[in-house]
Amino acid sequence: MKTNYLFPHKFKWISGILFIVSISIMLCWIIEPDIFKDIEIKSKVFAIAETAFMGDNVYFGIIDTNILDELLMATVIISGLVFAFSKEKIEDEMTSKIRLESLVWATYANYLIFLFCVLFIYGMVFLNIIMFAFFTHLLFFILRFNWEIYKFNRTTNEE
């Protein structure tokens, strides 16, 4: 009855700041990949699979790679999930309802826009669209939910 798969409210602001910062960097990077070409964090990591442009493919091995994008993407996903699914200050059935409706709205919005792009965008730029679509579902949900909660919290006092 009490299970709701949500994080405590105290995580909301810290994850929110992290999410806004990391997704902004992420989106800039998708649009203009060259901005980080001078920053590299080389590291040896375990890979289940790496398909190389040149040379051999690696399966279940250790590879040498720039982990900047992995770190950034992990930050976006983790902070985004925590921010999206933190409890509200007063968590009740009305906030659950708003959360559910926002999730439905965000899913429709994301896939309708994606469908539009599938039909009308061709070539290499479509790869960017796929990258965007991956994050925009969460982003749309977060924007919609927080907007609806903001409107709800502003509903006027007493009669």
Partner: protein
């Protein structure tokens, strides 16, 4: 669904915030129930019923379209 929440609250001399605190929801949720924008769960309806010491049927009532 119609409800007499506002009236019951006035009889008991409670503000929306008082009632909200007693049944552990936000004040805005009480406001939404009174405005007919939100239908509370059975648990919440029973909590309200217990608080006002009246049967649920006396506070909440089905309408024709329900």
């Amino acid at each position: 669904m119609k409800n007499r929440l506002k009236i019951e609250r006035a009889i008991a001399n409670l503000t929306q915030a008082d009632l909200a605190e007693k049944i552990a929801v936000s004040r805005q949720t009480i406001n939404a129930i009174e405005a007919g924008k939100f239908v509370p769960s059975t648990v919440l309806a029973l909590k309200i019923s217990r608080l006002f010491n009246k049967p649920v049927n006396e506070i909440f009532e089905l309408e024709d379209e329900d």
